[in-house]
């Protein structure tokens, strides 16, 4: 009886959280299936539902009736919000590569999170089930929480209702058809675009409902959206992009697996295997390798490499080659002289903390541009190499030899080797599946830092005892070798980052670079011409991984240690933003983007006007960039030129805000 009860307990637990996942994943899957939009902000809509419910309950309706009213009103409110988001931000991006949706929705995440914090504050707020649903209930001698049963029941009802809408109504019919073949639906005379708003609203409604229901168990807090978005993506991938049934099976499955792995830890050869968190990602990676369309997906429905081109900043600069080189040299000179100005125009912080941070991110962004801007591989998990580089640095210095140089070399090697392995597996799949699988690997590594806490020290990270030296070049410890406030480490970073750029540029000028570009423009064509595109992509990935590993190693030295946050998925998002902000496909563009990002963040944080809500403002900046300047900062001069000539030249035609992705990609790197 004991074992059966505990198993039943865990099953109910799994189904409870699984139902919430179903609601979340169903909306996400339908949105992707029909609209080809990867909605990172789905978690925020989920959280917004919970907050709206909190607001409703806070009115005179109170906790009892308020809860039931909230279940109806809040999802409707979020549906409206979702519709507005679609109409004003997503719609301008249709036809573009899904990467831009990721970017846009990533910016929306920042905006929503800050907006929530602005209105309700950063603290978690109490929100509980109504008195009628509190407490336990005993059925046939088996006791469990009444609210859990409620969640399962109402979640199931809601899923059933959604299913009926999709299968029994005309709206549902069009949605399902659009999910299979959008073009055909258009040819049949149905304006599917106008349905998109409704689809987005529908998905938002489901997510909001899930948010309210979950909040009843754990209260509301601004991070609740971030916590569920990755599991939601995993479920959508497992179940199949665009498949409602897949979302249901995936959601319940993941919920149960998560709960069971938390409780039951099998032992193999005397070692207890803590699989919590790992199983889910291993499943996702496995599914992507074996059956990319997911358990219930249909490969015909969705072309993973469909969508528009990746818009690079290459060739769109007005600046001449020589002028650009001149600017580069000037920038390098400025960086070399900067520390001398400490105390005169600025303090040590701006140079030794801010500039170093910017340069390290620039190196990270450079590594990403290598694969994304040139080979066209959108890696959502690039933080994997960065984080591993950082851990390599920390572990080498604390356990083997305290030399920073040796550890950096190891970090590069580890980054490259892991990139080879991950690349070998991931490059088999393309487009959005590739992005998902890289995300899966990064999350796996993130989880492993907790699981292998014997090595990584888990949550605490590796900080004490981490004191690298300059051996064998000098006996001093990093941080001790300085003349007044001019730190030797600053110059180490400048030299390594500038050197990496030059190495990367050299690689790109070689035939290797041209082949990569041709792969980005049209992989099929490149294959027909006779190139082994897989091998080239893999090589690019290895170089990229090495560079990212170097960045991670430097970051660990800079921050005095490493902790699991170095592998947090948000960092992958940030570096993608930097790359696009600067203008990918140029090598120097993303580095510039990194500098601007770090600088902007600093300015916003310290400005009295923005202060606390700087992330939201940053989000607004990204959203504007993605919609209006997708080719990045390096393309701004060309954009201005184009706008000016259009105003001077052809009178009638008003240039729409849509970017010129139809135009043939300009040739050549810089």
């Amino acid at each position: 009886m004991g074992l059966a009860t505990s198993l039943l307990d865990q099953l109910i637990n799994g189904l409870t959280v699984g139902m919430v996942y179903v609601l979340l994943a169903a909306g996400l899957s339908v949105i992707f299936g029909v609209m080809d939009v990867i909605n990172f902000a789905h978690g925020e809509l989920f959280a917004l539902g919970a907050y709206f419910a909190f607001a409703v309950v806070g009115t005179s309706l109170g906790a009892g009736t308020g809860f039931w009213a909230a279940l109806v009103l809040a999802p409707l409110g979020v549906a409206v919000a979702g519709a507005a988001v679609e109409r004003f931000t997503v719609r301008p991006l249709y036809g573009r590569d899904p990467l831009y949706h990721i970017l846009l929705t990533f910016g929306l995440v920042l905006i929503f999170t800050d907006a929530i914090e602005l209105v309700w504050g950063p603290q978690s707020l109490p929100f509980g089930p109504p008195p009628s649903l509190a407490g336990t209930v005993t059925v046939l001698g088996y006791t469990n929480s009444l609210y859990s049963y409620f969640v399962i029941a109402v979640g199931g009802l809601m899923a059933l209702a959604a299913y009926l809408v999709l299968t029994e109504t005309r709206f549902g019919l069009i949605v399902r058809a659009g999910s299979m073949d959008r073009e055909m639906v258009r040819h049949l005379g149905i304006d599917i675009d106008s349905y998109y708003t409704l689809v987005f609203a529908f998905g938002s409604l489901l997510a909001a409902f899930g948010g309210i229901v979950l909040a009843g168990r754990q209260g509301v807090d601004p991070a609740m959206g971030n916590r569920v978005i990755i599991p939601a993506f995993v479920i959508v991938v497992l179940g199949g992009l665009g498949s409602f049934r897949g979302a249901v099976v995936g959601g319940l499955g993941v919920g149960i697996i998560q709960t069971l792995t938390r409780t039951y830890k099998p032992s193999l050869l005397g070692v207890t295997l803590d699989l919590e968190g790992l199983v889910v990602f291993l499943l996702m990676i496995g599914v992507l390798l074996v059956r990319p369309q997911g358990l219930f997906g249909n490969p015909e429905w969705h072309d993973p490499s469909g969508g528009g081109d990746l818009l690079t900043g290459a060739g769109s600069g007005v600046l001449e080659q020589r002028l650009r080189s001149g600017l580069g040299v000037a920038l390098l000179a400025a960086l070399l002289v900067a520390p001398l100005g400490i105390g005169l125009a600025y303090s040590s912080y701006e140079v030794n903390t801010l500039l170093v941070t910017a340069m390290i991110w620039a190196l990270f962004a450079l590594s990403l541009d290598f694969v994304m801007g040139y080979a066209g591989l959108v890696s959502l998990g690039h933080v994997l190499f960065y984080g591993l580089g950082a851990y390599t640095m920390a572990l080498t210095v604390t356990r083997f030899v305290e030399s920073m140089w040796i550890a950096l070399v190891l970090a590069v090697i580890v980054g490259g080797v892991v990139a080879w392995g991950v690349g070998y597996l991931s490059i088999r799949v393309s487009g959005v599946y590739f992005s998902m699988i890289t995300l899966g690997f990064a999350e796996l590594a993130h989880q492993l830092t907790f699981t292998l806490s014997g090595i990584t020290n888990g949550e605490n990270g590796i900080y004490s005892g981490f004191d690298p030296t300059y051996w064998p070049l000098a006996a001093a410890r990093v941080g001790e070798l300085n003349w007044r406030e001019v730190h030797a480490f600053y110059y180490v970073v400048v030299v390594l980052v500038a050197g990496s750029y030059l190495v990367a540029r050299q690689l790109m000028r070689a035939p290797f670079g041209s082949v990569l570009q041709s792969i980005r423009e049209s992989e099929q064509r490149a294959t027909f011409v006779g190139y082994d595109t897989t091998a080239y992509k893999r090589r690019a990935f290895v170089v990229s991984g090495g560079l990212a590993g170097l960045a991670g190693g430097l970051a660990a030295v800079h921050l005095g240690g490493v902790s699991p946050e170095f592998l947090f998925w948000l960092k992958s998002g940030e570096v993608i933003v930097m790359t696009i902000l600067g203008g990918m496909g140029t090598l120097y563009g993303p580095m510039l983007g990194a500098g601007v990002f770090v600088g902007l963040e600093e300015v916003l944080k310290n400005s009295a006007l923005v202060g606390e809500q700087w992330q939201g403002v940053l989000g607004v900046v990204f959203v504007l960039f993605v919609i209006f300047v997708p080719r990045g900062l390096v393309a701004l001069p060309a954009r201005f030129e184009q706008l000016l000539s259009e105003r001077a030249g052809g009178g009638g035609g008003t240039p729409a805000a849509t970017p010129q992705d139809e135009g043939a990609p300009e040739g050549g790197t810089d």
């Binding site: 609210y147 859990s148 921050l559």
Partner: protein
């Protein structure tokens, strides 16, 4: 005009050259002397922390205002703010004191970054704060490297144990001191088959180690019913609650704090666990926790590091001053730590006669002073403040629904540290 142009031009040119050389010479002299002045400040010149004289204390107040501990951060910050204000207005305190405030998140990475900002940019020579012991641990290392004094707000023993260093002085009560109060009472009065559930990080591990060790010593009947660990910041504890419910544990000791503890207890009560076992947590009595749990907390037990109703030492006047400053709000443990850290360190500055952290760090250890808890000191061997501790029971209040803490045992400063003698801390400075 054109005919004379050539000659005039060459004359002009010659004159110009001479004039140029003259002015160049004078200019260079002026330039060099000016440059010499610049060179003085080049590359940063003298750093803020060097330099003697009267001196200013710049306290870097680093609190978690976002992240998993954001509910606890503001209290800590307010306590520090009050201390700074009181010291500024205190005529007997001979030094200037000011503060800069930073948000650590609940992230070691952010914490070290903002600490760097405080020290490098704002000239901080003292640091106080953090609540997560993982974050505090990172700052311990930072303080040592940058030679500034740091008062951690984390409670895990290693902060003044294996990770100790001469720059770190802790006013917060550590898990061993609390375990002393909690362990004995629990195993003797509440049940001897104990399940431990902890958040898997420095603090949680410390609670497990200390409390279990103490319980084993206190009672031969002690047995561990089970151990489960969750991730810091987790939000779903159902599976653990079910496991505990299906075991034969009498008592559950929860090694977590803040949002984690609140969510766990809520979910446990929702599943009826509190009717099967007694819930005990060293941090159950925190104001934030009690406020969030309401009636769910009745009947649970907790360790007490501080409650405003204490009548020890300066506490009554501290509570009054806090209420005046913050619109009637009552200080919690974290406010107490934010306040006590700065006040005790300031007394060290006064005694040392210098704001230089290098001097103060040698004066503070073992120095007796009067504090909120009465006569107190940072123990010489590990710099841990010798705070008293209590065991408390949460009962239904006379009015409202936030539980009231009833203390059931008290241990003095010496008693609380009796099980952590200098030889066993693992600290070597």
């Amino acid at each position: 005009m054109p005919e004379n142009h050539g000659q005039e031009t060459s004359d002009e040119r010659r004159i110009d050259r001479r004039r140029v050389l003259k002015t160049a010479g004078a200019g260079t002299l002026a330039g060099v002397s000016g440059l010499a002045g610049c060179l003085e400040g080049l590359g940063g010149g003298t750093t803020a922390t060097e330099g003697g004289g009267g001196g200013t204390i710049t306290y870097g107040v680093l609190n978690p205002i976002s992240g998993a501990y954001k509910g606890l951060g503001p209290g800590q910050r307010n306590g520090s703010k009050l201390a700074i204000k009181q010291l500024q207005n205190d005529d007997d305190f001979e030094y200037d004191i000011e503060a800069v405030y930073k948000d650590t998140g609940t992230s070691s990475e952010t914490a070290t970054q903002v600490a760097t900002e405080a020290v490098d940019k704002d000239g901080a020579n003292f640091l106080v704060g953090a609540i997560s012991s993982s974050v505090a641990g990172a700052l311990n290392g930072f303080a040592q490297e940058n030679e500034v004094i740091y008062n951690p707000g984390g409670a895990a023993v290693p902060l003044t144990g294996e990770q100790c260093n001469e720059w770190v002085f802790r006013a917060e009560t550590n898990t061993a001191q609390i375990a002393e109060a909690v362990a004995g009472y629990t195993v003797n009065n509440l049940g001897s088959n104990v399940w431990f559930h902890i958040a898997n990080y420095a603090y949680g591990t410390s609670v497990l180690d200390r409390t279990e060790a103490r319980m084993k010593q206190e009672s031969a009947d002690y047995s561990r019913a089970g151990l489960t660990k969750s991730k810091l910041g987790a939000s779903n504890y159902d599976s653990y609650i079910s496991e505990i419910s299906n075991s034969d544990a009498d008592v559950v000791v929860l090694g977590m704090t803040g949002g984690d503890l609140i969510t766990f207890v809520k979910q446990a009560v929702s599943k009826g666990l509190n009717e099967e076992v007694t819930l005990v947590s060293p941090t159950m009595t925190f104001a934030v926790v009690l406020g969030a749990l309401g009636a769910d907390a009745y009947g649970t037990y907790g360790g007490v590091r501080y409650i405003p109703s204490l009548s020890t030492g300066d506490n009554p006047s501290f509570v009054e001053a806090y209420k005046d400053e913050f619109d009637g709000a009552v200080p919690d443990n974290f406010a107490r730590v934010g306040y006590q850290s700065i006040m005790m360190t300031a007394k060290g500055v006064q005694e040392a006669g210098s704001v230089d952290p290098a001097t103060v760090k040698d004066t503070l250890p073992g120095m007796e002073m009067s504090t909120i808890f009465g006569t107190n000191q940072f123990r010489e061997c590990d710099h841990q403040a010798m705070n008293p501790t209590w065991m408390g029971k949460i009962v239904e209040p006379d009015s409202g629904d936030v539980g009231t803490v009833e203390t059931v045992t008290k241990l003095s400063g010496e008693e609380a540290l009796s099980n952590l003698p200098c030889s066993e801390t693992g600290c070597s400075m």
